[in-house]
Symmetry: C2
Subunit: 339 residues, 2 copies
DNA sequence: AAATGTTACCAAAACGTTTTGGGGAGTTAT
DNA sequence: ATAACTCCCCAAAACGTTTTGGTAACATTT
């Protein structure tokens, strides 16, 4: 593979001049020479070596998407899939490259995000999948590198966040049930450690309190975002109380809504005639169940898109706004009935 | 961020010795010195710079997963998702790192895979998503770098393939319909350029011919793997022939099976009472429809796992077997009826 | 006692770029 | 005619590693 030296020899120019021919920002090179160099490069099949570039220019703006998951469990789910889709649609639109790394819990124990950046010569980091319990999240605050988190609130001079306004969104979801005359609502909670669980909890409480509706403890089901756990807890609830205690199930995720519907149906009840169910997230599953689930679309694809956009903005000019709320939308389908 | 020089100064050793302390393969360094260096590194927060390493050691074995998609269409689908899951479960198991790049059609026009490797200092490439029409696929044959393709047959000294035995698998799928007394089968074809379409076509033909069953042209529906296209073509077919011409639809993908089922139901027929439907791939959707789809699981997760494994094997010893067929399995569910 | 081997380290070159500090040739202003 | 400026280009240092060739110190063999 030819190097820049070969190209310099081939064109009869110096190495430095050839380098400048490739970097648009330099003006002290004649247009003619530049096109000559580029043509010659194509001719001999030269293209610059990324590692050498990274090494020589400390400030190359290459970006990486980092997804850190717990040791247990699958690395990738539809949410990450959608975020990545959005992110890559941005990079493709603007012709930039982005490496993606999937790291497990082991990583967290050994390395900081900071060090990861140095090792891989990245100056912009996209973080997804980190929880509140991440010990390194604190380091982000005075991180020398720019980073953007998705669905995680993290403050700092050089850190941006792309978020859903979960409090408002879940307030609206709750209101949708209330507006349909549901007064006795069962709330299916997400993972207790997650930021989003707290925010959605707050949204539900706001709506409930505003309407003077109680939420007794036995109507709060901790299901950790999991389908099976929701199935189990809802089945138990139904076995214990039948139709006496509630008319609607409000879930903090679609996956739990799927478990809820299955449980209701397996107990011999009908959705939405006997019980209404609301999901949250707007994933594909919510469209494939019978009945289709009424849910809130978090617009993950746009989140991914905006995250890269924000990252690039921050890389250029760190006075950009640091928090972006992407709009959510209520999708009314068939799992909620007016009573 | 401290460099190796800082660490050398800190420990009172030379740069070269420090470097060797990190690379296990060197023996001419005392065990004591090695642990001292590693401890000191932790103390001052040093970790080696990847770019410098790549530059200095031509033969670093870092690997990348490359997914190249057409300009149009989504970058990521569940298949890629599963392959990535498998791939990352391997890398995590063995504690290695793998970068993932998603590139669009533009890339194909400008660059070769070869050049990509050089630019990014990768010596092992995992290729996914390239079609038969890829102009660069030919270059793979005398590629200086090791690469492994998933779901694409490509020969070469240094290229491995991870595949499903599509001919056999689709033969078996066809036989399942035949064994259930279906004689008039409609075949929904995939993208004409794709290798897999050809292989599955051959499998169907084998089974059909063996049983002296005809497959007239009007029962072959080119649907390009797409749900909507399948919906349209099947609707048209049903409008034209009703129940006279066929009892079963054999789809080359689950996505087309979803469209087929929807079309059948929207035309007022029942699955599987009026028509049977077979899918292929074993994706999540096949489990969420009503009725659940009988399909062939391609085991994409294991494909991803095996691909990285094969890549590593080839990187160590290129005399390994170059083609790996991962086992598929028929999943019998509710969309096929015995008649 | 000299020759040989072994161990544990060092100094310096190399990898392929970018960037800095010049500097010659030509043009314009004094 | 000299000075000042502009336009292009060059030479060399720098980036942070790995790797090569060498050697001082000590142990072992003859």
């Amino acid at each position: 593979m030819p190097t820049i030296k070969d190209l310099a020899k081939f064109t009869g120019l110096s190495v430095g001049t050839v380098s400048r021919a490739f970097n648009e920002r330099y003006t002290d090179i004649s247009a003619e020479t530049r096109v000559n160099v580029l043509r010659a490069a194509r001719e001999i099949g030269y293209s610059p070596n990324k590692s050498a570039q990274n090494l020589a220019s400390k400030s190359l703006k290459n970006i990486a998407l980092l997804s850190v998951r717990d040791d247990k469990g699958s690395y990738i789910d539809e949410i990450l899939l959608r975020i990545m889709t959005g992110a890559f649609s941005y990079t493709s639109e603007f012709g930039i490259e982005m490496a993606t790394y999937m790291l497990d819990g082991l990583f967290r124990k050994k390395k900081t995000y900071d060090r990861f950046c140095v090792e891989h010569s990245v100056s912009g980091l996209l973080l997804f999948g980190i929880g509140l319990d991440d010990p390194h999240i604190k380091c982000l605050v005075n991180h020398p590198h720019i980073c953007v988190t998705v669905d995680v609130e993290a403050d700092g001079e050089r850190v941006g966040n792309v978020l859903t306004d979960d409090v408002t969104a879940f307030d609206e979801a709750t209101m949708f049930l209330i507006d349909n005359n549901h007064k006795n609502i069962v709330l299916l909670m997400g993972h207790p450690g997650a930021t989003v669980t707290g925010a959605r909890w707050k949204g539900a409480q706001n709506a409930l309190k505003r309407n003077n509706l109680p939420l007794p403890v036995h109507r709060i089901l901790g299901c950790d975002f999991k389908t099976e756990e929701a199935y189990r807890k809802v089945t138990a609830f139904l076995k214990m109380y039948g139709k006496t205690e509630a008319t609607a199930f409000l879930c903090m995720s679609d996956s739990m809504a799927v478990g809820t519907i299955r449980a209701i149906q397996d107990c011999g009840y009908n959705v939405p005639d006997d019980f209404s169910v609301m999901g949250y997230d707007g994933l594909t599953v919510s469209e494939l169940t019978t009945p289709k689930i009424t849910t809130t679309d978090q617009n993950f694809i746009q989140k991914g898109y905006m995250a890269v956009k924000l990252l690039r903005g921050l890389l250029e000019d760190s006075s950009e706004p640091h928090k972006i709320y992407v709009p959510h939308s209520l999708i009314v389908r068939d799992s909620v009935r007016r009573i």
